[in-house]
Amino acid sequence: MTVETRDLAIGYPGREVGSGITLAAGPGAVLFLLGPNGSGKTTLFRTQLGLIPARGGQVLLEGRPLDRLSRAEVAQRVAYVPQAHAPPFAWSAFEVVLMGRTARLGLFSQPGEADREAARAALERLRIGDLAEADYTRLSGGQRQLVLVARALAQETPALIMDEPTASLDFGNQALVLREIAGLAADGLTVILSTHDPDHAFAVGTDVALLHEGRVKATGPPAAALTEEALSAVYGVDVRVERLADGRTVCVPSLSRQGESQRTDPASDRS
């Protein structure tokens, strides 16, 4: 399913976070959103899901304007993996994944055996079947994140939006999730996700959008969009992009400081 934004302006009442955002991701696409903290990635996702209204422009799901769809219709089309969080009550991980089936249930229905089967399959796919009966609140941040990814898989939507799905995962689980994402795209799903690691985009991304201060600075296939110049300008550090002998591409930031004038690090303003 194609997820499109046209000249989208995003933000909150009285505060614009970004504007002029035009992006599209179709079936089989893995669109990576990269950008520094506060560049508007999460706000863009929330707008694409209709959780906050667009300040201008349009979000289209398969050509249909988002604001014409009901919550259930949106949830049948796009699943959302939010950043891991702590809920107030200790459901089991299985129950949390089962909640992904809600949009497929009638208003007064309970999940049935088919829904339970889908939830179990999603847990198994991420190799966390043994966490099914564990208290969700007692899981580590990374385990919770995997559970939320499993919930999105259980939702069985043609498109997925994931907000930093690898942020608190260990090295092995990062690779696991990236491989699953590539597999989902190969099955014809549309995946849009954010990351702080450009290597992930090089590894499994078909497209990237480099976001800076709420605007798209560069877009296209990773090799074309993620140049040393673009990355250095957006992140404010010198970045080297290297090709390994086996054809993979990696990014390495320089730890020495770039010209101070280009760098806008709010942390350095505090004394």
Binding site: P13, R46, L49, G50, L51, S70, R71, A72, V74, A75, Q76, A79, Y80, P82, H85, P87, P88, F89, A90, W91, S92, F94, E95, M99, G100, T102, A103, L105, L107, F108, S109, Q110, P111, R116, R120, A121, L123, E124, G129, D130, A132, E133, D135, T137, Q155
Partner: protein
């Protein structure tokens, strides 16, 4: 055995545990109710009670005590306890906060004001109950309007703060009426009502309340899966396809209806709606589909025990609010001491 099969078995076991707990609680409730019917200043034997109930013994004191006094009172305690605990489970779930009680949006304060006004004006009992019911609904409606008028900020926080404000205003008005009330006749009645009591409750008092409670419970039972999802928070619930705003409004409406109708009958009984859902959550977990029936059954049992104590431990009636606080407050402290995990 592979992991999937093990998860399947575990999930089934979990579901059965919920159903088993409910069955067990219901059984205990039936036995407790029978015991409560027999206990009192005029003790009844089981055989005697059965002969009254089957209509063989139609004359005498036993019939009056059992049918006119104890039966309505036992029924009332079950209704009030179940309703308050169910409403508490709803409020805690949708506000995503285990420290919330059904009073959070001012329903008790509003009902208190309505009923006290009725007592102050020396109205008949039915009118006092109606005013209490209307006061409870009115207070929550006012909170809703205030929260809707305030456009900015966290909607839940605005709602809760509006509840605090409206509750405080209703409390102030109640205090004013207490100052103005006749200290020999009206003031004791007001004080007793504000602490809650089922003394002198009649079958006629329950007739209007019971159907309203039932009507409020039906949507909550039907929507139980979605209410569970709503506890993830508005944003996630909406991303999962739930119309969070509308659902929350429905739950608040139903829970308020339930609370106001029993507060109108029993007066303000605190702590039940706060503490009982905790115990229910410990028994069956936070899934709302299991939590709601467990809380209702536990609440009914708790209220039955408390009311039986209230009418038997001394020659004079002890207000329910005093007993529920004496038991509830230390228990709550214990929960806090056990820390966040205990809320699970």
């Amino acid at each position: 055995m592979d992991k999937g099969a093990r998860a399947l078995i575990a999930a089934r076991k979990h579901g059965q545990a919920g159903a088993g707990t409910a069955l067990w609680l219901a059984g205990a409730l039936v036995l407790g109710s029978v015991a409560a019917l027999l206990i009192g200043p005029y003790p009844l034997g089981l055989v005697e009670a059965l002969s009254v109930l089957t209509g063989r013994d139609t004359a005498g004191q036993a019939e009056t005590v059992l049918l006119a006094i104890r039966l309505p009172r036992v029924a009332a305690s079950l209704l009030v306890g179940a309703a308050l605990a169910a409403a508490g489970a709803c409020y805690q779930t949708i506000f995503r906060n285990p420290l919330v009680s059904p009073d959070i949006l001012g329903v008790s304060a509003g009902a208190g004001l309505g009923a006290v006004l009725g007592i102050f004006l020396s109205l008949p009992v039915a009118a006092i109950q109606l005013l209490g019911f209307a006061g409870g609904l009115g207070a929550v409606a006012l909170v809703g309007f205030v929260a809707a008028a305030v456009k900015t900020g966290d909607r839940t926080l605005v709602l809760v703060l509006a509840g605090v404000v409206v509750g405080a205003l209703a409390g102030a008005a109640t205090s004013l009426l207490k100052v103005l009330a006749d200290p020999y006749d009206q003031l004791p009645a007001i004080t007793f009502w504000l602490l809650g009591s089922l003394a002198g409750v009649k079958a006629a008092d329950l007739m209007p309340a019971a159907p309203v409670v039932a009507a409020g419970l039906v949507p909550l039972v039907l929507l139980r899966w979605r209410i569970n999802v709503l506890a993830l928070g508005d944003e996630e619930a909406r991303a999962l396809g739930v119309e969070a705003g509308r659902l929350r409004l429905t739950v608040i409406l139903c829970a308020t209806l339930i609370t106001a109708s029993v507060v109108a009958v029993a007066g303000v009984v605190g702590w039940v709606g706060l503490v009982i859902p905790h115990i229910a959550r410990m028994l069956v977990g936070p899934g709302f589909g299991r939590l709601l029936p467990a809380a209702a059954l536990l609440g009914a049992g708790y209220m039955l025990a408390v009311d039986t104590l209230a009418r038997t431990i001394s020659a004079a009636e002890v207000p329910l609010g005093i007993l529920t606080a004496v038991v509830g407050a230390p228990f709550f402290l214990w929960l806090l001491a056990r820390g966040r995990r205990a809320w699970a």
